[in-house]
Amino acid sequence: MKINLLTAAFMGSMLLMSSLAHADRLDDIKKAGVLRVATFDSNPPFGFVDPKTNKIVGLDVDYAKAVADKLGVKLDIQPTNPANRIAFLTSKKVDLVFANFTITDERKKEVDFSTPYFASGTQFIAKKGTLKSPDQLNDLRIGADKGTTNEQQVRAQFPRATIVAYDDTPFAFAALRTGNVQAITQDGPKLVGLLANVPDRDKYEIPAFTISNDYEGVGVPKGEPRLLSVVNDTLTGLEANGTAGHIYDQWFGPKSRAPLPRLFKIGDPQKS
């Protein structure tokens, strides 16, 4: 008990000292020559361990590398899971989080977010040529996963659509294959992952529209305006010189394993 108290007091004073001593994180990063970034290590293609090199690679890693290069420092990757992302930032274990981090009002209370560099949303898979625009959804039978926000969004926005909810995505996809439904809905990145493992994937397509939008940004600790603006400038710069599109195409482009049309570019106005 005594030791615990002592440790706590010690750590508390260390925290206090560190926050006093390091008023600005950007200077610290440049001085140390290392940018510490948390990414996923098992969420392809955002962040996952490459079996060949045993290193963490992915879309998020590439964007993090671009920011490190811009700062002229080394990149140090720290694997994280979804639940730890905010804790990593608030405990100052990492400088930035690049982990498919969806921007929400709740999270904005704990951390700051950069301008979004990726967007995902409720999308559809249909047999080629059957689904071109969202208006058609009202006349279709649409398979969904029970209890997902995707199901609720389709029901709210397309009241005349017939929704058939299944226990999970493979069941919904089986219903699409057999023709019981004409389209199925899920988050775009999940749909491409699903389609990547289908033997006759040439028969299906993901129409190039979303009916909802989630935006993913870089997680930045609160109270670091200079660091935040460097991250934002870097991201807009990457879009301007074409690097952002290049990084996207490497993981989601037409020749990638999981092709997903790029519907959002860095700096685009955000739709609700």
């Binding site: 039978r141 199901e151 909810a165 299944y166 294959r177 057999t178 023709g179 019981n180």
Partner: protein, 241 residues
């Protein structure tokens, strides 16, 4: 516990309940008819017919209902030609006087067929036990009175067999109502499906599933009442004779 469900969600639950009742009623009718045929086939004098009926019971009674439903919905659908599937999955209706008759959805048809095939085995076996429950002496007595085999069956054996098998038969009807909840796996919007849907939209888990439970119990209780009424009128009719 935070208040009652909004009217919109009560309507969802009632729509689901309506679907449960429609499906159960349809299955009860078809499974009873098929069950009669099955019982006759199992007591037939022709051995191949008997064996075929026994094989049917073996297959459909000894595999889980959920697997059978998935088979009818996903498995059979892959065997059907594309044109048939398209027809089954587009709405059809016929004008019957003032009403529009809608062709049921493929989920309904698959659930109906699946539940009928499954319940037929149980109902058929209840009928068979009713038939074999009639003492041999009754057969002999009817023959001694000079009745033809058909007349003996219709006027002597069948009424007694029906009386013997009525209580277990209603037990099977109750099973049909409860088993109909499994069709939620193939996307039929019946009571269990809609209660789950209400739960995910409102997070009022207790109210959603509680309401569904009450509606199921009410349906079963109603069947019990019908059984008592049927038994009473049956025995009164027997006394009058």
């Amino acid at each position: 516990m935070n208040g009652w469900l909004a009217p919109k969600y009560l309507i969802w639950l009632l729509q689901g309940f309506g679907m449960t009742l429609a499906l159960s009623a349809s299955v009860i009718v078809t499974a009873t008819l098929c069950g009669c045929l099955l019982a006759l086939a199992r007591t037939s004098r022709a051995a191949p017919v008997r064996r075929a009926a026994a094989l049917y019971v073996l297959v459909f009674r000894n595999s889980p209902l959920i697997v059978q439903l998935l088979f009818w919905y996903f498995g059979v659908a892959t065997l059907l030609p594309d044109a048939v599937m398209t027809w089954l999955n587009t709405p059809h209706f016929a004008d019957v006087g003032m009403f529009k008759m809608y062709w049921p959805s493929f989920e309904f048809v698959a659930g109906w067929i699946g539940l009928t095939c499954y319940s037929t085995t149980f109902i058929g076996e209840e009928f068979r036990s009713g038939l074999s429950g009639v003492p041999v002496g009754q057969h002999n007595a009817a023959a001694a009175l000079g009745l033809t085999p058909l007349a003996a069956f219709v006027h002597v054996i069948l009424p007694q067999a029906v009386r013997i098998s009525t209580p277990p038969l209603f037990g099977q009807y109750m099973n049909i109502v409860k088993n109909s909840s499994l069709t939620m796996a193939i996307g039929l919007a019946e009571l269990s499906y809609s209660s789950r849907q209400v739960d995910t939209e409102t997070f009022k888990t207790f109210q959603a599933f509680g309401m569904a439970t009450v509606l199921y119990i009410l349906t079963i209780a109603l069947l019990e009442v019908v059984l008592v009424v049927v038994q009473r009128s049956g025995s009164r009719a027997a006394v009058r004779r």
